[in-house]
């Protein structure tokens, strides 16, 4: 009997390991571009820490991978359940903790003192010019957050590309792109006012794929960057 149990256990382990290997293949080609080759995260969150912010049961993961997560950049995957369960098996096999040693409280104080709230909302306070960071901890890995502070131009979402043109008096108007089509543009100016214009009527109209956020590479110490990243990473729904 004991032999039979051992055999069954070995068979089960073999099947699991086969699932993990198959899941890794699919993960590498479909998930790694955002979540990293080992699930360590990138533009998408770390999936290897064992913490999931949109449900952590197999059923939750199956739903999120199949259908995507509304309100985030996570798209649905179009595989049948058996293939998605292989991906889940692979994710469960990963162990990469999020490497950051900052202090949340010090980071929160820096967030206020360094002027981040002029452009970014976190909870009830903050501006509208930059991305709302109220739940940024569920959307970005710590490495991506660190990169955003040190090299903000490395990955700029089109929503924050910079629109500029000259008004009738020759003054340059700037703002952040909200929408653009063949004929019109909609944007938020630097005073948080919304505008919509026919592009053909604008002088020297252009859209630059740059970030207006300053780099904090030289104005923050490494420890301060770690503190800010730790704070940002803690911003999650309660």
């Amino acid at each position: 009997m004991r032999t039979l149990v051992l055999l069954l256990w070995a068979t089960l382990l073999g099947a699991q390991s086969k699932d993990v290997a198959a899941g890794e293949k699919t993960f590498r080609s479909h998930c790694a571009p955002c979540h990293g080759l080992r699930g360590e995260g990138g533009r998408g969150p770390n999936l290897a820490s064992g913490r999931f912010y949109h449900g952590s049961s197999d059923a939750d993961l199956l739903k999120n991978i199949s259908e995507g997560i509304p309100g985030t950049e996570m798209p649905g995957l179009f595989y049948m359940e058996d293939r998605i369960r292989q991906i889940i098996a692979y994710i469960r096999s990963l162990h990469v903790s999020e490497q950051n040693t900052g202090d949340v409280m010090r980071g929160a104080a820096l967030f206020q003192s360094k002027g981040c709230t002029a452009c970014h909302r976190a909870g009830a306070q903050g501006g509208r010019l930059g991305p709302d960071l109220s739940q940024i901890g569920t959307m970005r890995s710590v490495e991506h957050l660190r990169q955003s502070l040190i090299d903000p131009g490395a990955d700029v979402q089109p929503r924050y590309w910079v629109v500029s043109f000259q008004d009738a008096d020759g003054h340059e108007i700037q703002g952040f792109l909200m929408n653009e089509d063949t004929y019109t543009v909609q944007f938020m100016d630097l005073r948080e006012q919304l505008h919509s214009f026919e592009k053909a009527a604008l002088r020297n109209y252009k859209v630059e794929k740059i970030s207006k956020m300053p780099s904090y590479r030289d104005s923050l110490t490494n420890e301060q960057v770690n503190d800010l990243v730790q704070y940002l990473s803690s911003l999650r729904p309660h």
Partner: protein, 533 residues
């Protein structure tokens, strides 16, 4: 019957002039190009010019175009339908696989066929449908659960319903069927599920299959040596966009899709015939008369699922039967319709994968253009320089019009294991690069030189086809929801309207009550325009 009663009955008969359709005979289909008041087959005629000779709406009065009616569909799925219009009645498909008959003058509904579908449906790119075909008093529909259905044109009642293939293995039908003689010719989708593609012809009266042409030959057949081992069984080459018919030569010309898996060709080394090809089949037997493969051993998903445009014109000083074909791979081709020989080809959009075409029309590939694990940047992108949406040829301007994408993708190579009913694609390319979204255009080409005559640039990449008319207009649409009319000679915009939803469909034009209408699907509705009275 006294004279007064007889007169009264006659008046009643005149008053009750039926709106019900006349028979769409095969003869009528053969002469659809001259039947300007109707739109009785997917591309307007067998030669697939998507051209209407109607000329009430012109460059000088198009600014007076106004919405005549709107028909809303209760769906969140993409609407890709080309409506057909027969004697005042419009037949269109609603996604996923419904059919509606409307009064073409008012948009009011006569009937609707609602199809109950099993779950799950395995489609690569949405549960969509591109339209119906009509013969006699029957309407024919392909469904996403891979059935072909015949409906009564007056009531929508089901006359027959046959399974074309098993939907559980990734087969589906999104194509508008084509009537040829007394047959319904119907293609299949599933190139992302490792199906073995085919083109079928069914008896329009009974639903019995007349012939099937497998787009991938089995071992022993000509072309089978272009597939190793068992790869032919899961090699793709679907037939998901409506082809054309050359009645004089009795050949059906149809485009085939990508080989499977899309972006990893390791398991299918070889040319992979007849994927990414134009195929010409004997209409009565389904036997292959000729083929021309645009992309041997495709690893970029560059289907040849474009509408073949058939034109008789002078070529090299002699009258010749030609096919004009702007391909997803970025090259424009002219083929000889009698034998499939390559006559001419040149890029019509930016491409970085081929040095050019050789004398036989085969691409001269550049090095390092295949998908790679780390990603390979190539123009055109994975959705191609053009795709399934229809081009148009206008006999007045003698120009070829099409919607174009100028963009690139990162092509990645990944896993490729086949399991029935699952995607079999070999990774997923990054279609839109955030830092380089590309743009679109409506483009007019000299069809004999490939030279760009004009360009109407669009900020985004269009999924809408184009229609050209006897009023020397080109109608097109954008992803932004704009429907517009351009001067067919210059490309200058003469009218536009924001319809508020993505346009992923082809326009048509028809006549009701002596007035010219233009219709197109946008968002989840059909919009119909006419000149303001």
């Amino acid at each position: 019957m006294n004279i007064r009663h007889f007169a009264s009955v006659c008046v009643s008969m005149i008053w009750l002039q039926p709106a019900a359709p006349a028979q769409v005979t095969y003869d009528r289909l053969l002469h659809a190009a001259e039947d300007n008041g109707n739109w009785i087959t997917y591309s307007g005629s067998y030669r697939s010019w998507r051209y209407s000779g109607l000329d009430q709406i012109t460059r000088s009065n198009a600014a007076r175009l106004k919405i005549e009616w709107v028909y809303q569909m209760p769906t969140a799925l993409m609407v890709e339908t080309t409506p057909l219009v027969v004697d005042g009645i419009m037949y269109l498909t609603e996604p996923p696989s419904n059919v509606v008959a409307l009064d073409a003058k008012t948009g009011r509904q006569y009937w609707k066929y609602r199809r109950e579908l099993p779950k799950p449906i395995n489609v690569c790119c949405g549960e969509v449908n591109r339209g119906v075909a009509i013969l006699g008093d029957r309407v024919f529909l392909g469904t996403v659960d891979a059935h072909l259905v015949a409906l009564d044109a007056k009531t929508g009642a089901v006359l027959w319903d046959v399974a074309v293939a098993d939907h559980k293995t990734g087969h589906s039908i999104t194509v508008a069927p084509l009537i040829v003689k007394d047959m319904v010719v119907c293609g299949i989708s599933g190139g992302e599920y490792g199906i073995r593609g085919f083109l079928d012809a069914y008896d329009a009266a009974t639903g019995k299959r007349r012939w099937r042409f497998w787009t991938i030959p089995e071992p022993g057949q000509p072309g089978s040596d272009s597939w190793p081992g068992d790869a032919w069984k899961t090699g793709g080459a679907p037939t998901w966009v409506t082809g054309s018919f050359d009645a004089e030569q009795n050949i059906i010309i149809w485009g085939t899709g990508n080989p499977s898996p899309d972006w990893n060709g390791d398991s299918r080394r070889g040319e992979n015939l007849y994927s990414d090809s134009a195929i010409a089949l004997d209409a009565d037997t389904g036997k292959l008369k000729w083929h021309f493969q645009f992309v041997p051993h495709d690893v970029h998903d560059w289907d040849a699922t474009q509408v073949p445009v058939l034109v008789d014109a002078e070529w090299g000083g002699h009258p010749r039967k030609l096919v004009y074909w702007a391909h997803r791979n970025g090259f424009y081709y002219v083929l000889d319709r009698e034998n499939g020989h390559f006559l001419f080809g040149t890029p019509f959009a930016k491409q970085t994968w081929a040095k050019g075409l050789d004398s036989a029309g085969h691409p001269i590939r550049l090095p390092n253009v295949d998908p790679s694990p780390e990603g390979t940047y190539i123009w055109p992108g994975v959705q191609g320089a053009t795709n399934w949406y229809s081009p148009s040829y206008n006999p007045l301007t003698k120009l070829f019009y099409l919607s174009v994408w100028e963009n690139r993708s990162v092509y990645r190579k990944g896993e490729q294991e086949y399991t029935a009913g699952n995607r079999y694609i070999g990774s997923v390319p990054l279609i839109d690069l955030p830092e380089d979204l590309g743009h679109g255009a409506i483009r007019a080409l000299n069809p004999h030189t490939g030279e760009r005559v004009w360009d109407y640039k669009l900020h985004t990449k269009p999924w809408a086809g184009v229609l050209s008319t006897g009023g020397k207009l080109v109608f097109g649409g954008s992803d932004e929801g704009y429907f517009f009319a351009l001067d067919a000679e210059t490309g200058k915009e003469v009218w536009r309207q924001n319809l508020g939803g993505i346009i992923r469909a082809n326009p048509v034009s028809y006549l009701v009550g002596g007035r010219q209408f233009v219709s197109i699907a946008a968002g989840s509705a059909i919009f119909t325009f006419a000149l303001e009275r």
